[in-house]
């Protein structure tokens, strides 16, 4: 029988502008917190999987597997995963697979990104490398631009407008107000979103996740290890799925669907033996406001064209039927690219364990889902977390 994978401990630095902190310093801090939270020694770690996207660009640093093993104080095989903004979840997923395969009982997973030590223009250029280098970047496509192309096509096919998207930004900022790890711990109004400087039509500044520095880490262990060592590890990763799509928007049948997310979701749901109706709380990859809409539709929580009004109608707010991004999401929590996937895991773990600042809003929740996307969702990784005690 395949072993279950328990989340023994999690750690996360504050997200935000901390440009003098190197990615190794950030990851060391997150890993240290995860080890303390897990009550697992560094010597027990049998493998490290680490996510990072733009280290070569921002820090002129490749070969980050051993660098981060050194930073975390772990002497174990160490591999860096790169899957654009889904790099962090790629690391988590490899950790899950290592434990399930029987290769390891204890793995350290996580990711980090340092982004604010370079200019906004340079970061914009670095991020655009997640798009197709020939057919999109050479045409001037930026990441806000790519998601704007998706948003404008969505409006054309299904309706909706900037105000619908603004409700998503307002919701996610509201969720982050009490989250000390979030980059933006302040509420905003609809007018703030609508009147913000335009980045790429239809997006203003508040439709976009910020440029951030930060790290997240988690110690994953097998059921047997948790039992033998008497660990309090009440959260299990019961489902893991990954999907792929054509790299560029122009290569896709539809510009407003993200089949990589659908594929990843179906795989994770089947793996966990649950469906959308079983999910109590969700963290999705809201790098731009429209991304939350596309995620909820592709995962099957909404039919195509129907998630645009979910935040406005209060369905995905903290007291709605399906609370989405109680951490603040990428939008308000921040988006240090390589850390984001694991940060979704750490925040969801705390939400389900009851030690997140917003846990009281979902005190009966027992099943959570995380959705982490790379590029314009050419990559997507979904995990299902359950309280198992």
């Amino acid at each position: 029988m395949v072993t279950g994978v328990r989340i023994a401990g999690v750690g996360m630095t504050p997200f935000g502008k901390q440009s003098d902190r190197t990615s190794r310093e950030l990851f060391a801090a997150a890993a240290d917190e995860a080890f303390t939270d897990a009550d697992v020694s560094r010597e027990a770690v049998e493998e490290l999987f680490y996510g990072n996207f733009m280290g070569e660009f921002a820090e002129v640093q490749g070969h980050q597997g051993p660098l981060m093993a050194n930073a975390a104080g772990v002497v174990a095989p160490a591999t860096r995963l790169e899957s654009a903004c889904a790099s962090g979840s790629a690391a988590v997923r490899q950790g899950v697979r290592a434990i399930r395969s029987g290769d390891a009982d204890v793995v350290l997973v996580g990711g980090a990104e340092r982004m604010t030590n370079i200019s906004t223009a340079e970061a914009t250029e670095a991020l655009s490398a997640a798009a197709d280098g020939l057919w999109e970047i050479k045409a001037g496509v930026t990441f806000p631009g790519a998601y704007s192309l998706m948003a404008n096509r969505y409006f054309h096919e299904f309706g909706g407008d900037r105000e619908d998207l603004a409700h998503i930004a307002v919701k996610n900022h509201e969720n982050a107000v009490e989250n000390d790890l979030a980059q933006f711990q302040r509420a905003i109004e609809i007018e703030d979103v609508l009147e913000a400087p335009t980045v790429s039509t239809p997006f203003g500044l508040y439709d976009c996740s910020p440029i951030s520095d930060g790290a997240a880490a988690a110690v994953l262990v097998s059921d047997e290890f948790a039992e033998e060592h008497g660990l309090a590890a009440p959260i299990e990763i019961t489902g893991s799925g990954q999907g792929v799509d054509n790299m560029s928007l122009q290569g896709r049948e539809s510009i407003v669907e993200t089949p990589a997310a659908r594929r990843a979701g179906e795989m994770a749901f089947e793996d966990a033996g649950v469906g959308t109706d079983d999910i109590d709380v969700v963290e999705v990859h809201d790098c731009f406001t429209i991304a939350e809409v596309l995620a909820l539709e592709s995962l099957g929580f909404y039919e195509p064209g129907e998630a645009i009004s979910a935040a406005r109608e209060g369905e995905t707010t903290i007291d709605g039927d399906l609370p989405v991004n109680l951490s603040g999401g990428l939008k308000a929590k921040g988006h240090p690219v390589g850390a984001t996937g694991c940060a979704q895991l750490t925040e969801m773990t705390k939400l389900l364990r009851g030690d997140h600042v917003n846990s009281d809003a979902v005190s009966d929740a027992s099943v959570g889902l995380t959705h982490n996307a790379g590029g314009t969702v050419a990559s997507c990784i979904v995990h299902v977390l359950e309280v198992v005690e």
């Binding site: 250029e125 020939l134 050479k138 001037g140 930026t142 192309l149 980045v199 790429s200």
Partner: protein, 127 residues
């Protein structure tokens, strides 16, 4: 501007400039831009060059105000995805004000140079 060519991409831009643009068609009649050895969706080989339709239709567009260093002097600019028969192409819109662009706008395909670097790029002009 780099003198090193990107095979497939630069071949396509050359073909646009020679008024002989083409796409690659797979046995399943899916259309792709070069370079492609196989149909990404089906894995089929035996791709054949087919003439690209002369006009396309804008599917979506955006005006980008915040650009990276390679396009800093070009901003603001309008990026669009247009459909030319079985293939979609990404390019910048020329010869039309951004306020006048609509989804469904008929366009032709051309090349131009960026203001910032002088690199070639694909552009659309009203048909």
């Amino acid at each position: 501007m780099s003198d090193v060519r990107d095979n497939g991409y630069d071949d396509f831009l050359d073909a646009v400039e020679e008024d002989e643009p083409y796409y690659l068609e797979s046995p399943s009649e899916n259309g792709w831009l070069p370079p492609a050895v196989v149909d990404p969706n089906t894995g089929e080989g035996d791709l054949t060059e087919q003439p690209l339709p002369e006009t396309g239709e804008v599917l979506t567009f955006t005006t980008t105000n915040v650009a990276g260093p390679a396009f800093s002097d070009d901003a603001p600019f309008v990026v669009a995805v247009a459909e030319f028969g079985p293939v979609k192409i990404t390019g910048q819109l020329r010869d039309i004000e951004s306020e006048e662009v609509e989804v469904g706008q008929e366009v032709t395909l051309d090349t131009d140079q960026t203001e910032t670097t002088g690199d070639r790029l694909l552009v659309f002009r009203p048909a």
